[in-house]
């Protein structure tokens, strides 16, 4: 294929990547879309680099199913992420940690030296790994463009590519100064790359399996006829299982500790719950992408039996062999995406490590240098990160052009893996074991790393001609025991297992022994507790960190504004001050404020550098370990007390509310009582007035004629009756309300009661010429009720109806029916009706008081209140519907009692 065409496609692909990242970064609406569990899970796929893409086939070709160990580790241990990874994520969010080196430094007392050490080791371990990706791209390019291997062109192209990726990382990886901030654009691009490489690999896999051969069965049958291939199906029983164990352990640790994995799974995590999705989708992703590794390896082996084709290149070579150039191009793009994804994320992670754990602590401890940089440390920091990115890529390029050409893909990858595994004791021990200390971590790391260097790197350098080869075959100075590939006479392992065994064993041993033997500093102890018990402290981390000394707010302010700028600093401080009720006008800063400032800085320059910076502007007092324990205990108690206090407060508030409600109720009752008294008094005064006036007239006018005298006397009697009735009503109501009134129940035929009631108002109706229309459905079951009270209710309703209808035009309808378990009685009139405002009020005994001067035409105002009480005593209800101008309809519902219903 024309190499110019391949270059064009590669550039276009990179352009697309820029586009995706730019789009994700810019669009606010998609940001929500970007931080979702699918994007998160896919971005973890950065684990499958070019090594996986090309190298797995090569590894399957030489070692068979063993290549799977790289994926089995993460798959088998994915459920544990919920315990380990979630804890790491929580710690990093709370402590604002953005890199592995800072994680280790922070855990072991914010030690700048330890952070620098980790960063340095990561650099040594990972740069070759990055160059491996560059190598994969240039090799695949050469294969696709069918160039001779030594071509200068590919070397130059690789350099340009490295620069292109550097620009991408600088654009999308250093936009924000806070290293702990998420890079939405970068993550989205990486997730897209994960999809691209998976789809591309599936394409070529399906083509080889079903296009070139006739399915899986065909390939495996053909392969099993070749003795050289048959042994690849099984695990070598001689030490093979041991190898599996160490390789699985290696991948298990690397999925957590690779800087790029730490970047995507921890730093870029926006929600701990996204882990739930990743725990099953990520293993699934790895399964799918590895589905066709063996078929391609066997297919390639069968196709190229007598030719010298590197198995690493089978994915490209097979389509090309059959002249499927478009497929080869897709495959190339898949590999390209695997490589670029890895380079991008790894470079971001490592550059942050370099700037925060190596450069910043160095700058901060060099006063002359510090002065030269001036007040704008923020700009300096971003510049430093950008230069780190370029330096990293240049280093990777140099490594590639000078060294990497001599090794297959897998070997460099595994060497890097083994280096990264050295972080395991310090990191994992650090989050589960409080006693783990700085000496243990430092010495363990140095020794583990030295062993790694000795057992893996030295032999490679010897093979490359930097040392005499005899070093590998007979050991240094002829000492067999020190032979790098069989240290202390240990044989039977492959090179990686051997190196991992020794380095990790010595590392763990040093870590544990020194941690037990030597004491922690107070800062270390504090951090150890906060890391191990993170779920206990994460809510109140600011008040849990130990600090004692003298600090001034303006100092902290100027410190922060060096990175955040004046405006943002003021904003951040004011927010904190508001939340914690701190007055910023005080000169002295409280320990919480100092911790907050340090935490903010840690997000930008790492915890160790932040510690150094804060220490430079404050006067700190030493705190002993015992005090730390004491203070932490206190803060724990404080949390508890606070919680109790909040509880008490809530209870108090509840009680206050209840009290207020009770009080309001009392006032209301009081007012109602007052109103009631006024009403009753008023109602009593009216008949008394008539009685008194008429009596006085009778006394003063003995000459009155009989007729008039008689009229006056009967009015006096009527008004006296009214008075009596009123008094008994008041007493009745009082009895009902105080619950002293009991019903005298008996079996009552409601229809009979209604007839009797109609009978007794008959005279009244006749006087007013009102038509009474009574309609009773018969027969109805008897009701268990107080007959006299029901009669009272009926007479009240009927006489009210009569009272309010117009003389001569009145029409009253009485209707009784049964509806389910209820008697329903309606009394409807065609009087003036009741305004909707009053429809509830009329059942209230204080009706008249609510209308101080506008008075209900007639009646005591107590009748309906009593009626309502009686009905309620029968477990029934009364309501009214009315349209002013077209009458009122009162509806009474009384439930049939169970025993009565049973009789029927």
């Amino acid at each position: 294929m024309n190499s110019g065409w391949v270059v064009t496609v590669s550039v276009m692909y990179l352009g697309l990547l820029f586009g995706i990242a730019y789009w994700a970064e810019r669009s606010h609406r998609t940001r929500r879309w970007v931080s979702n569990p699918w994007v998160y899970s896919l971005s973890l796929g950065v684990y499958c680099s070019a090594w996986a893409y090309y190298g797995s086939v090569g590894r399957a070709f030489t070692n068979g199913v063993e290549f799977l160990s790289t994926y089995l580790g993460p798959t088998l241990t994915a459920p544990l992420w919920w315990i380990i990874l979630r804890k790491i994520i929580r710690i990093c969010k709370v402590q604002r940690i953005a890199t592995l080196s800072d994680f280790v430094a922070s855990r072991y007392g914010k030690s700048a030296n330890l952070g620098a050490l980790v960063a340095f080791f990561c650099l040594i371990g990972i740069v070759p790994y990055i160059s491996l990706q560059l190598k994969a791209i240039s090799t695949s390019f050469a294969v696709l463009a069918e160039l001779p291997r030594t071509e200068e062109l590919t070397s130059d192209l690789t350099l340009y590519l490295a620069i292109g990726l550097g620009i991408f990382v600088m654009l999308f990886g250093t936009r924000k100064i806070e290293a702990t901030e998420q890079h939405e654009g970068m993550v989205t691009a990486i997730a897209a790359e994960s999809l691209v490489k998976m789809v591309a690999f599936l394409f070529v896999g399906i083509y080889v399996t079903f296009g070139v051969f006739n399915g899986f069965g065909d390939i495996f049958t053909q392969a099993s006829h070749k003795p050289a291939l048959r042994k690849l199906f099984t695990i070598d029983p001689n030490g093979g299982y041991g190898t599996w164990f160490w390789h699985i352990l290696l991948s298990t640790l690397n999925i957590l500790l690779l800087p790029r994995q730490f970047q995507v799974s921890v730093v870029e995590n926006t929600d701990e719950r996204h882990l739930n999705r990743a725990i099953w989708t990520f293993p699934l992703y790895m399964m799918v992408i590895n589905l066709f590794v063996l078929p391609i390896a066997f297919g390639g082996a069968l196709l190229f039996q007598n030719q010298t084709v590197n198995a690493d290149n089978y994915v490209l070579a097979i389509p090309l062999y059959f002249d499927k150039e478009w497929l080869a191009l897709i495959t190339y793009l898949g590999g390209f995406s695997a490589a670029t994804g890895m380079v991008i994320v790894e470079t971001i992670a490592l550059s942050t490590m370099l700037s925060n754990s190596v450069l910043m602590p160095y700058v901060l401890t060099q006063p002359t240098l510090r002065r030269k940089i001036g007040p704008n440390l923020g700009r300096f920091l971003i510049g430093a990160r950008r230069i780190s990115i370029l330096l990293l890529l240049v280093a990777a390029y140099l490594y590639y052009s000078k060294l990497a050409g001599r090794y297959p893909l897998v070997s460099i990858g595994q060497v890097s893996f083994t280096a990264v595994a050295q972080l395991a004791p310090a990191v994992l021990g650090g989050i589960f074991w409080k006693q783990g200390n700085r000496y243990g971590a430092t010495v363990g790391l140095i020794l583990g790393f030295s062993v790694w260097f000795y057992t893996l790197v030295i032999p490679m350098l010897a093979e490359a001609g930097f040392f005499p080869l005899s070093l590998n075959t007979v050991g240094p100075w002829g000492l067999e025991l020190l032979k790098p590939s069989a240290l202390f006479g240990l044989e039977g392992f492959d090179r990686i297992s051997h190196a991992l065994f020794w380095s990790l064993s010595i590392n763990v041993l040093s870590y544990v022994l020194l941690s037990i033997r030597l004491p922690q500093t107070s800062m270390e102890h504090n951090q150890a507790i906060l890391f191990v018990d993170i779920f206990k402290y994460s809510e109140v981390i600011e008040s849990s960190t130990i600090w004692r000394g003298t600090a001034y707010i303006p100092d902290l302010q100027s410190l922060l504004s060096q990175f955040f700028g004046k405006e943002r600093t003021t904003q951040l401080l004011e927010r904190f001050a508001n939340e914690n009720e701190i007055n910023l006008n005080w000169q002295r800063a409280s320990p919480q404020l100092v911790n907050y400032a340090e935490n903010l800085l840690a997000g930008v320059i790492g915890s160790a550098s932040a510690r150094l910076m804060v220490a430079s502007v404050t006067l700190e007092e030493k705190i002993s370990v015992d005090e730390v324990v004491e203070i932490l205990k206190e803060s724990q108690e404080l949390i508890l007390t606070n919680r109790q206090l909040r509880q008490h407060q809530a209870e108090l508030e509840r009680a206050t509310t209840q009290l207020r409600q009770a009080n309001e109720q009392m006032i209301r009752t009081d007012r109602l009582k007052d109103d009631f008294l006024t009403t009753v008094t008023h109602e009593l005064r009216t008949p008394i007035t008539s009685i008194k006036a008429l009596s006085e007239i009778l006394q003063d006018n003995p000459e009155l004629d009989m007729e008039q005298r008689d009229q006056f006397l009967s009015t006096i009697i009527r008004e006296s009756d009214r008075l009596t009735r009123l008094i008994s009503q008041v007493l009745d109501l009082e009895k009902y309300e105080s619950g002293k009134h009991f019903l005298r129940t008996e079996s009552v035929q409601l229809t009979e009661v209604i007839r009797e009631a109609v009978e007794s108002v008959h005279q009244l109706a006749l006087e007013k010429d009102v038509h009474l229309d009574v309609s009773l459905t018969e027969p109805l079951p008897p009701l268990q009720a107080d007959r006299d009270k029901l009669m009272q209710v009926l007479i009240n309703l009927l006489s009210n109806a009569i009272k309010y209808t117009e003389r001569g035009k009145g029409l009253i309808q009485v209707l009784l029916r049964r509806s389910g378990d209820q008697y329903v009685l309606t009394v409807a009139d065609n009087g003036p009706g009741i305004a909707s405002d009053y429809q509830q009020l009329i059942f209230d005994k204080f009706y008249q008081a609510e209308n101080q001067t506008i008075r209900k035409p007639k009646g005591s105002g107590l009748g309906l209140a009593i009626t309502k009480k009686i009905i309620e005593l029968h477990h029934g209800s009364i309501s009214v519907e009315s349209q002013p101008g077209s009458g009122a309809r009162f509806t009474v519902q009384i439930p049939l009692l169970k025993e009565v219903r049973a009789e029927h």
Binding site: I688, T689, K692, A693, L694, T715, T853, R855
Partner: protein, 134 residues
């Protein structure tokens, strides 16, 4: 001179007019008897609206006014009468069961000439009415 003339005119036209405003038949009955016995011409209204109609039509010299009534209440009637240039001369006597200090003050603040609480003494009432119409 003017007052005498007016009195003469009234006597000439027959009798002095008095309006009773109340919705209680027993009370109306007693007041009607008392006023008629004194020789007044008596008008009766059952609520405020009716009272205002009669006042405008007949321009009685004195109104015996209840407060608690349907529709327009006694305060409103008093306010309208005393607020009108034409009717201001009309004497107003409140007769109400509302007996609180505040009620009485309110009634007088509307310009009423007298406030009597129910139950009232007929003898006292008659003395006051004669006083007011003299």
């Amino acid at each position: 001179m003017n007052a005498d003339l007016r009195r003469d005119e009234l006597t000439l036209s027959g009798m002095m007019k008095i309006l009773i405003v109340d919705d209680e038949p027993g009370i109306v009955m007693s007041l009607e008897f008392l006023m008629k016995k004194e020789g007044y011409q008596v008008y009766i209204a059952r609520d405020g609206a009716e009272a205002l109609d009669i006042i405008h039509q007949e321009q009685p010299q004195l109104v015996l006014l209840d407060i608690m009534m349907p529709s327009v209440d006694g305060y409103e009637v008093c306010r309208q009468v005393k607020g009108s240039d034409l009717l201001r001369q009309t004497k107003i006597v409140f007769l109400s069961a509302k007996s609180k200090e505040s009620d009485i003050e309110k009634g007088l603040s509307y310009g009423a000439d007298l406030y009597l609480t129910k139950p009232f003494s007929t003898r006292n009432l008659m003395a006051k009415v004669q006083e007011l119409t003299a």
